[in-house]
Amino acid sequence: MTDERDDHVYLSLAEGHDDGDARWAFGTGFEDPLYGVGTTVPDGVDAAQLSVVCAALGDDALIAAQRLAEWCTRAPELEEEVALANIGLDLLGQARMLYARAGQTDGTGRGEDDYAYQRGPEDFRNILLAELPNGDFAFCVARLLVLSCWRLALFSRLAGAADPVLSAVAAKGVKELTYHRQYAAEWTVRLGDGTEFSAARMRAGLEQVLPYLAELFAASDASGTDGAAVRKEVIASLRQVCEAATLALPSCDIFSSPPGHGRDGEHTEHLAPLLDELQSVARALPGATW
């Protein structure tokens, strides 16, 4: 018989671990969120192309997560601050797995820290909407609504991707993004169908965000999904929410404004300062561990 005391779980918590002890990404050596996941790329999948798709979807998530993190101590209510931080955490988790997959498949073997901390703005491929400064809470809600509608439409299709890792990351992300979209939709309705003041702010937020949809739609095909179907689904979701919020969705012309080129590394002036903050520790203390 094994001594019950020996098998008591709490003993392990006080124990120093000889490996697997590093818990956080930068500076701790815990750099592989896909630790122990099979790394094979299936036959017929273009590994270089897969890497590009994973890195771009990772960049969208990392930059959006950083903007959400900036709401900490600034949100209108504690509950919203916690919600925005949690949504950002989900996106950060998606980014980590996508970066790990990108590094496995592009032949460089780069890890998540290399992607997040060792690249300049010109190397990032995120869509421009993710990097815009936070603005007011209504803008935050409008951006989250659009980004989560689009990413959910993409991920629900990528769940059927030929690469098992991308497929698994997407299938997992669908459940999270459904909550993000629900949160943004409920706030859109509350503000849009609230007071005259809140409705005006919500309308202004949507008007600022919608011109960036064209870039999202242009990026859908390149991610290996049916861009027309994604577009249709996103517009239907936005119409449903705007109708419930008693906000008129601006005419469809707005969806045809010239798309931005974040996917080509052409960014607004807002990305560099965001990265200055995100990468400040990694730049000040290169290779530091603790």
Binding site: T2, L91, K172
Partner: protein
């Protein structure tokens, strides 16, 4: 027959069963009233022909920081109990849902004042796009303290991404709910 290196006791159950039992008993770092087995994140424990233990874990949410903690705790627990070579694998597919929480896990959550999740399996199984629920048809979560159905959600997110905050209108107590995902 093997001897536990920590206690010197003779171990009579097989190494796979013992390794599984040890791994299953590791507590969740965020919800310590639950074991990893209760939470349903321990997918498999096996012992290879040359004696290495391979434990497979799945993350709850993509960004859940606890997965690294769980991985380290399982590895440490197994090593401490005498398994010299331990490998932890991450399994992403099928993705974890709250349906993996065992009946025992649900009971323990309720006993600790946390309303357990209802069945989640139908949320994403229907073909076509996942619809946004904007009508006031939100399901009520019964109060884990008094059982009243007269409750309201106060925040979709709580101390961790997997929980939401609720308030009971009958007993006036706030409570947490592990939300369906």
């Amino acid at each position: 027959m093997t001897v536990d290196v920590v206690t010197g006791d003779v171990v009579t159950d097989g190494p796979v069963n013992r390794a599984r039992r040890l791994a299953e008993q590791v507590a969740d770092p965020e919800l310590p009233m639950l074991t990893l087995a209760d939470l349903g994140v321990l997918r498999d424990v096996a012992v290879t022909a040359d004696g290495a233990v391979v434990a497979s874990l799945t993350p709850t949410y993509s960004g859940c920081p606890a997965i690294a903690e769980m991985r380290a705790a399982v590895a440490a627990r197994l090593r401490e109990a005498g398994f010299e070579r331990v490998e932890i694998r991450t399994v992403l597919n099928p993705p974890w849902t709250t349906d993996w929480i065992t009946p025992a896990g649900r009971r323990k959550l309720a006993e600790h004042g946390i309303a357990p999740p209802a069945a989640a399996r139908d949320r994403h199984s229907e073909p076509g796009p996942v619809l946004i629920q904007l009508s006031a048809s939100h399901r009520s979560v019964p109060c884990p303290r008094c059982g009243s159905a007269d409750t309201e959600e106060t925040s979709r997110f709580a101390a961790t991404a997997c929980r939401s905050l609720w308030r009971c209108r009958s007993c006036r107590e706030p409570f947490e709910h592990v939300k369906e995902i």
